[in-house]
Amino acid sequence: MSTPVTRDLVTEIIENQPVFDVAHSSRTLAWEQFKKLGLPSAKHEEYRFTPITRHLEKNFSWTSGNPESTLSSISEFLIPQLDANVIVLVNGRFNALHSKIVSLESEVTITTLSEAFRKEHPAVKEYFNKNLNTETDAFAALNTAGWHEGVFIHVQENTAVSKPIFILQVNDGSQSPVISQTRILGVLEKGSNISIIEKSDSTGNQTAFHNFAEEWIIKENAHLEYCKIQNDTGKVCQVSNSVIHQASNSKLNTFTLTLDGQLIRNNLHILIDGENCESHFYGLYLLAGSTHADNHTVVDHRKPNSFSNEMYKGIMDGNSKGVFNGKIYVRPHAQKTNAFQSNRNIIVSDTATVNTKPQLEIWADDVKCSHGCTSGQLDEEALFYLRSRGISETNAKAMLLYAFAAEVLEPIQNETLKAYLDNLIAERLHKNF
């Protein structure tokens, strides 16, 4: 489906806003913010390499909304043998049939976000929409104004939740085009520990636009492991806004794997608002076809004595386009900060491109910060070494690409998850040895 590019998409979005029964005040405010922001133009510095507005104007009509799905089985999207709490959202609706909660209520509260609003959970009141940048990002504002459903997770003080939470979001475009907006709010109380796996998938031949936003609050001494897997079809456009707030002595490990989709934009924003924090964030984008993946990360050091380490790697094949922007802010007084960032890219085909912009902005003097980024091809000598040992060129290349990519998986703790991801990557890189 295609509509003329000249129409005003913002007006269309505003005219088609659905009616909601929860979170009225934050929605009203966000609508105003969205109206003021509009959608980012091609000249917007943050969206310079990702012409998302043009893409949406060309491919989406806001009248479609999020239709009911008749999806009967979700087994193909699950991670085999993963022992976890499962929450399933299909087309932005909670799917009770496929969801199952196994952890105890005394450890962790897992509900839909609208129910948490209805029950007036104190954590929702305190933290919902507290850190999301709705004033500057149009998609964050749009999500806050119009989210359909979401997940609320609240981990009790000094509790280590033994089983991970698997959040599966499926967009079913088998009947009609889908526009879904979902939201997660997660609060980790002091000294708690949890692992989250968030996966997005899609099915069907129709287009889908998934506007996702999440907020995580990690309190003192708490620890969050977070893994995001984006495995959509080539018909899906996804925007994901993640804001993670860290208090003193907390620890964060995030991993983002982008495989498919038409246009993917990830905004990962980490606020280090306490001392002695540790954040590791890893990313891997394996792109082919005409996938366009854009990772924007920000780590904002607001307090002294913290450590952040970022590593994003990409392999671009076909006509794909990889975009990376990594910002490190070190605010005044955030002394003794150590921040590292690295972005490495391999371009496999003649027609793939990469645009990368690492960025350091530092206002404190007693810091150690560095970034490095590279773009190139496979090392000729390494290839020759393998070839001289009787390995075919295809296999040798696959082997080197796999080695390049798999490094990013190293820090993942959960063995089942790690094996699953390892398998996904190997399959993608045609490793058959």
Binding site: E45, P332, H333, Q335, N345, I347, V348, S349, D350, A352, T353, V354, N355, T356, K357, P358, Q359, L360, E361, I362, W363, A364, D365, D366, V367, K368, C369, S370, H371, G372, C373, T374, S375, G376, Q377
Partner: protein, 481 residues
């Protein structure tokens, strides 16, 4: 580090050395900017019709453009109608030799330590001196012309070599390239022109010295260097300005054009008045510098030591069009007090097997903000392009900022791009190591900063390296040897 902090605090008391003015009689255009001013400048310079047309075209384009807002600097809006666009030391007739030049002028340059008198041949540098907006004297002209090298003021070149000027003016920086380049194209008053013929290796360093002297004026000069096939030239540029409470605008354009196998080495020691310790006054240095490697195997190398200006906004770039062409950029940018610098480079790889190298060292002290902004763009056709970039920042003091904005855009899969950047302060372990070996704290800081900037300073020609080291010492007085 307590002592070096103390020393750093003392820097602020250091006054700008070149802050004096000379009472030169000047001829000025009225304040403001309109088509009449452009015509006035053109007629003052007895310019041919085509150049006036060119200026007017640029002026009309400028009127349609808006001032760029993206650099990481803040300053009050500039009132373009409150600037004098033409100011020239009064001279009744064009001097034929240095004896006829106003002795006040000669004194001015002697004060700056620049020899305009050819007796001082030992210095071996040919100088073209630009005061306010006009070139006042060019030395060693005859010796250079024996080799066929043309080195003269821009207005002279317009009169004597119109075919060359017409061909290359605006060929690297188009008149509508950006806001300040367009402004410059409309109102530029003078500058230097240099042409190196085929196969000639210029035997001496060529140099331009810029000085803003009059109050309320802007300086808009234009430099054009053309290196014909297989030639080589090393070019130096220096600048100073008096201390004034108001901000003065300097918007220059430098164009370099290299043909097959030619090489241009362009070095700048920029020491415009940076404003006082409270950030009052100083020069706005908004400069467009670009080199085009038009021929195969050509090379352009930029070296800059930036210590002055209240605000610097400058990106010497290389367009690597010829196959196997090479672009280099070496920079040390030092900011102190309330100075702001947003500087870096652009390397545009168009030809095959092109190589570029970027080394940028930023030092920020006081309450200054120092940004590196650079782009490495590998075009589709640029097979086997190679780039290495390194940008390091050194922070001295807890109220300054260091920022890096590198853009890396790759459209060819055989390109190899590396970029690395670090930000840190002088390590306590480094100081400790020196102390252990009997080097006192002040000398240790000096040692480390000099070592830090050495990679760039080494690129400077001898005569300039000395000046640059002195400048570094001046800007960071006390902490540098």
């Amino acid at each position: 580090m307590s002592k070096s902090n103390q020393v750093l605090e003392e820097i602020t008391s250091k006054e700008y050395e070149h802050g004096w003015t000379v009472n030169l009689e000047t001829e000025e255009a009225p304040k403001g900017l309109n088509e009449d001013i452009v015509r006035f400048i053109s007629s003052k310079k007895n310019e041919p019709e085509w150049l006036l047309e060119w200026r007017l075209k640029a002026f009309r384009q400028w009127q349609k453009m808006v001032e760029p807002k993206w650099p990481n600097v803040t300053y009050p809006a500039i009132n373009y109608q409150d600037i004098i666009y033409y100011s020239a030391p009064k001279q009744k007739v064009k001097p034929n030799s240095l004896d006829e030049v106003d002795p006040e002028l000669i004194k001015t340059f002697e004060k700056l330590g620049i020899s305009l008198t050819e007796q001082k041949r030992l210095t071996g540098v040919a100088v073209d001196a630009v005061i306010d907006s006009v070139s006042v004297a060019t030395t060693f002209k005859e010796k250079l012309s024996e080799l066929g090298i043309i080195f003269c003021s821009f207005s002279e070149a317009v009169k004597e070599h119109p075919e060359l000027v017409k061909k290359y003016l605006g060929s690297v920086v188009p008149m509508n390239d950006n806001y300040f380049a367009a402004l410059n194209s409309a109102v530029f008053s003078d500058g230097s022109f240099c042409y190196i013929p085929k196969g000639v290796r210029c035997p001496m360093e060529l140099s331009t010295y810029f000085r803003i002297n009059a109050a309320n004026t802007g300086q808009f000069e234009r430099t054009l260097i053309v290196a014909d096939e297989g030639s080589y030239v090393s070019y130096l540029e220096g600048c100073t300005a008096p201390m004034r409470d108001e901000n003065q605008l300097h918007a220059a354009v430098v164009e370099l054009y290299t043909m097959k196998g030619a090489e241009i080495k362009y070095s700048t020691v920029q020491n415009w008045y940076p404003g006082d310790k409270n950030g009052k006054g100083g020069i706005y240095n908004f400069v467009t510098k670009r080199g085009l490697c038009a021929g195969d195997h050509s090379k352009i190398s930029w070296t800059q030591v930036e210590t002055g200006s209240a605000i610097t906004w400058k990106y010497p770039s290389c367009v690597l069009k010829g196959d196997y062409s090479v672009g280099e950029f070496y920079s040390v940018a030092v900011t102190n007090n309330y100075q702001q610098a947003d500087t870096g480079t652009k390397m545009i790889h168009i030809g095959k097997n092109t190589r570029s190298r970027i080394v940028s060292k930023g030092i920020s002290a006081g309450k200054s903000q120092n940004s590196y902004r650079g782009q490495v763009h590998i075009m589709k056709r640029a097979a086997n392009a190679r780039n290495h970039s390194q940008c390091d920042s050194l922070l001295m003091g807890d109220q300054c900022g260091a920022h890096t904005f590198p853009y890396i855009d790759v459209e060819n899969n055989s390109a190899r791009i590396e970029h690395e950047a670090t930000t840190s302060k002088i390590g306590e372990d480094q100081i400790f190591y020196c102390l252990q070996r009997g080097i006192d704290e002040e000398a240790a800081v000096a040692l480390i900063v000099n070592g830090y900037a050495k990679e760039v300073l080494n690129q400077l020609p001898m005569e300039f390296a000395v000046e640059a080291q002195k400048l570094l010492a001046l800007t960071l007085e006390g902490s540098v040897g």
